[in-house]
Assembly symmetry: C2
Homo-oligomer: 335 residues x 2
């Protein structure tokens, strides 16, 4: 899908890519970090790997072909502007592995090293490394760190404040991230989105689910409240079965199952991170993710008594721009 207002294209300063597992987004960025044009596609690294295999290409060649498919016209029109990517493109399964930075990781540190791959003679694409939290049960992220930096840049929170704030990046693997200033200090991943997709489409629960066009917020909130209750305090593997038994006993409609389960799962995730107490206080919390999913987490957090929640979308290009600036990739005075 190629879209974007091209009027300011003469100002193009940077080609930025948010290249994940199942999708790739390309941004043409102009003066001051403004987005001149953007495109998204389903050409995530999994698709690229599949393409490499089916067309008997090296992985590098398949990635470079995909880059051309995504934004070959921009690369041709702006031969001297830098190209930089974040996300799973820098993983072992990606184009080139960008070694993780360990927490505490200052996202605005000008010294950290970008990986590079050659995309044409004399031209490279830079890859922003992910972050590793080498705790007892380690954790990793690739791409989310850049979204977080973008959120900090876009936010009205004092950027030099060292007060802790939290970021939540919901999705297939949602991330809960503690940040002090611009430094990631600790984080945890929950496989909520992926587990929900599997349970709701393939488990015994899937047979009860009647599809619906809109979110049933009452059913969702019921799931959240069940997860908060003493009866719902067990691991999700035990409470999830209630999505079936409540239907069998006539206490839940089939059209409510999907959102009840969603509430149950999101609340189990929140409960694991912040506890069940209604009096818990958490630092200012920003959710970076798609609107519908962010709305679910905000709603659930509200039920937990947490009202200081802000939602931001599309923070990745702003984060990539900030890193390109601090890394000195942009030579022009217009930065």
């Amino acid at each position: 899908m190629k879209t974007g207002v091209m009027t300011n294209i003469a100002e193009a300063q940077l080609i930025a890519l948010d290249w994940g597992t199942t999708s790739a987004r390309a941004y043409l960025i102009g003066n001051g970090g403004s987005i001149v044009a953007e495109r998204s596609s389903a050409l995530g690294i999994m698709q690229v790997a599949a393409k490499a295999q089916s067309e008997s290409l090296t992985l590098s060649r398949a990635f470079n072909n995909t880059l051309t498919e995504l934004c070959g016209d921009w690369l041709a029109s702006f031969e001297s502007i830098p190209v930089i990517a974040c996300g799973m493109v820098g993983s072992q399964q990606g184009w080139a592995e960008a070694a993780y930075r360990q927490v505490p990781a200052n996202l605005a540190d000008p010294e950290f090293e970008l990986e590079t791959v050659e995309i044409a003679p004399g031209r490279v694409m830079h890859i922003i490394p992910g972050v590793l939290d080498l705790k007892e049960l380690p954790d990793v992220m690739r791409g989310e760190e850049t979204q977080i930096l973008g959120a900090i840049e876009l936010s009205d929170l004092a950027p030099n404040s060292h007060d802790e704030q939290w970021f939540l990046l919901p999705g297939t693997h949602s991330k809960w991230v503690k940040v002090s200033g611009r430094t990631i200090t600790e984080f945890s991943t929950s496989m909520t989105g992926e587990t929900y997709a599997l349970l709701s489409s393939q488990s015994i629960l899937s047979k009860l689910i009647e599809p619906s066009d809109s979110v049933d917020w009452n059913a969702f909130e019921r799931g959240v409240r069940v997860s908060q209750s003493p009866e719902g305090g067990a691991d999700l593997m035990l409470t999830a079965f209630s999505a079936r038994t409540l239907v069998l006993t006539g206490r839940l409609g089939k059209a409510e199952v999907a959102d009840y389960l969603s509430g149950l799962m999101i609340a189990a995730e929140i409960r694991s991170v912040i506890g069940t107490s209604m009096t818990v206080s958490v630092p200012p919390l920003t959710i970076c993710g798609n609107k519908e999913l962010s709305a679910r987490y905000t709603k659930a957090l509200n039920v937990f008594g947490i009202d200081q929640v802000r939602e931001l979308q599309g923070t990745a290009p702003r984060g990539i721009w900030a890193i390109a600036c601090t890394q000195g990739l942009l030579q022009s005075a217009s930065v």
Copy 2:
């Protein structure tokens, strides 16, 4: 698969079926409950439903055809002996719905009602109802109640004792059941087996798993201990990601992932049911399930400090026999 010693076939007293979602087992039972012959097949109720659809048969007709396929020769040779089944064959998706009995459910009560379906003019098959626990988050079982009764009959525990004992029936949906005498008082279901199958075959974790012929008990025990630790105390959706990050950081081998995850999940289930305390005391516990899975639960329970664990296999036919006796289905003096 037709097997069984047929020498004592003249003594046949009862045709018993343990008819579940994905499999059906038929037993020809002789004097005193001895198994004269047995057969198992993959003709569970899901397969019967698929057959009904593909061959344009009514569900009843498809079930009756399947019964003939399973044990038509027994039905023909022993025209006057009773036929009785337990399991999902008595569910809404089965042959005929046998209304649940509610807890407290005395499994040896001669008064509870069996469902019946006609299998030939003047001949019926009886269906043993499942059990319903109508608590805040309700729970249901079909078939497990009969396995439990069989285990009590087979066990050396004083059968009239009203001391509480626990039964664990691991599997796709594992059941934890509190029993007093022969009465089920409360139970809970964990979707552990089904969730494990989905995560280990289809999630991001599946990409790391190297198949192995034998159980890696060290990896399994490590998963159990992680789940017991403060770091592993979160919901499984959070701790499961460690099966990936420990590999990425070189702390877990790919050949260990499957059993590490299994230990993590089984322990999260146990933790939800009995808590994490090492000093917890639970009533005598009997595991009824297949040998490998039972061994995993026994091992995990041992790590939790619970040593009083007994394993029993193949308890369903004994339970069906006991119910046939108390219900007066067997007229002969040989009972």
